[in-house]
Amino acid sequence: MSKTITTSGSAVLFAALLWMLPQAALAQGRTPQGVDEFTVTVLSADNRPVLQGASEVDLGGLSNASSEAQRHDKSFSITRHLRLRVTRSNGAAGVVTLSAFLVRGCHPCKLRLDGSELKASPTLILQRVQLNGTTDHRLEIEIPASMPAGAVDAEIGWQVEEK
């Protein structure tokens, strides 16, 4: 009887270890094989990398009175178009999902990618992204009229998930 209980405990421990394996890989930003790491690159209009792996979009002056501003009741928004490329370190093809999150927000302004508001937790942007391909996106910043004038400095992080 006691042997049965002990064996059962081992099975549960075995299961727990199997469960923890992918979680550990997740925390390290790798798949279980430990070889696949993804890079999301912002491209210029002609598909050249703006800056591999650490891009910056300078929105310039953000004014409610500018011609590009979309005016809302108590805020205005400015939209820019981005092109992204997701690659794997070994260059292999594949299909992934792409999510984005705020590494550093710009409260009280809001950032949206393809209409989805970005927050500290990942927001799904694209369900299927072909690795090494390019995708077009709309980056929108919404600024409340009550927000004081000054610098905006936000940072968007990417989460890539392979099926």
Binding site: E37, A54, N64, D153, W158, V160
Partner: protein, 175 residues
Amino acid sequence: MKIMKVVSLAALVAVMMFTPSSFAATSSGTLTVTGTVESSLTLVVQSAGGTTSGTGTSAATSALGNISKYGSAPTGFTLARGASNWTLSSTIGIQVDKANLTSTDYTLTAQLGSAPASGVTWKLNGSTLSDSAATTLTSTGTYGSTASYSWDIVVADSAAAAAIDNAIDFTATSN
């Protein structure tokens, strides 16, 4: 021993059921978004006498058509005949909004875009406008609400029959 196998199988099934079918990896790339929020005012002509176009924007137009002392008043105007002149009266509604600005009120001025036709006087809020200097309409304007200003065009009987076309340039300045 038989019981033990059942438990192990159950554990394996549980592992298969709960192991994620996909694995996430936080990529090495980030996107920094920078910019500078600028203070701004917007001025909108909400209403005006005459046959208007562009109301609700900052560049409205009002057409009065053919006007005369003994004719009918244009749409949105009243006509008052004096001994030696006649006056068309209406109102202009101006709204000023602020964004990213701590100002509590604004100053609104108006100035004619060109010299008025001889014998024609343009007035806002009772003050005669000129093309050489701005006239202050208010120095305590309230943001976000439409302020109505009386608008008079006084035409002397001696004025030549001709077009009276002009522009009124409004300027709002935050206090």
